[in-house]
């Protein structure tokens, strides 16, 4: 299940629904990304339609490659505050090793290859964050 939402969501409630839909898995591995307290707010932008389709295609390949029963991504966009969840990604499989490896891969991909753009607000300063650029703050804002 892939969802992009501009509303705050409850990651554990979503994870419970995901787990209750499983039939054969022995392991559910999940990662919740949280807005860290350094900035006053984050604004996250995506490419409507395209970002969703790219995540869905990547998650499909991941299911096949790692033999997952299921994978889930919920990603927040819009303006969000410290402590709020940015992303919930989860992978479920019969054995834990596949689920952990798949989640690790999924998070790397979401961070590097999914079309999202992040703007940090601190006081009156708005600043686009670019990981991989020479900006040392590139990985400072969330996880």
């Amino acid at each position: 299940m892939i969802r992009i939402t501009d509303r705050a969501f409850d990651p554990e409630a979503e994870l419970a629904a995901f787990r209750h839909g499983l039939r054969v898995s022995g392991a559910v591995v999940a990662m919740t990304g949280i807005v860290r307290p350094e900035s006053d707010a984050l604004l996250l932008e995506h490419f409507p339609g395209v970002t969703e389709a790219m995540i869905a295609a990547f998650a499909d390949n991941l299911r096949t490659e790692f033999g997952l029963e299921s994978a889930m991504v919920i990603h927040r966009v819009g303006r969000m505050l410290p402590g709020e969840a940015i992303v919930l990604a989860a992978a479920a499989s019969v054995h834990r090793k596949a689920a952990i490896a798949a989640l690790d891969r999924l998070m790397d991909w979401l961070k590097l290859e999914a079309p999202f753009w992040k703007l940090e607000e601190t006081g009156n300063i708005r600043r686009w964050i670019e990981p991989g650029s020479t900006d040392p703050a590139g990985d400072r804002v969330s996880f």
Binding site: G49, V50, A53, M54, H75, K111, P115, F116, W117, G138
Partner: protein, 84 residues
């Protein structure tokens, strides 16, 4: 007619999220960028930077790709991604 879209800091720099681009014949990406930027040399430089990726009709192309833009295409300019 085609369409250009700007995301992230490129939208701030262009001052808009996109606009129609009159296009009667196929253009190389470099020529398309010049048409999009018009007299704004700062925007042209920003669109041409190696870190900027391009999506044509919703397909994100690899860095350095050099697509031909055809009438009707939607071309998006994408700064480096920073999800999560």
């Amino acid at each position: 007619m085609s369409r250009v879209l700007f995301f992230g800091r490129l939208r701030d720099q262009a001052g808009m999220s996109g606009h129609p681009v009159p296009l009667a014949v196929p253009l190389g990406l470099a020529e398309f960028r010049e048409q999009v930027a018009g007299s704004d040399s700062g925007l042209l430089a920003a669109l041409s930077a190696p870190v900027i990726r391009v999506a044509v009709n919703g397909t994100v192309l690899p860095r350095g790709a050099n697509p031909v833009i055809r009438p009707g295409d939607e071309v998006a300019f994408l700064p480096p991604f920073s999800g999560g």
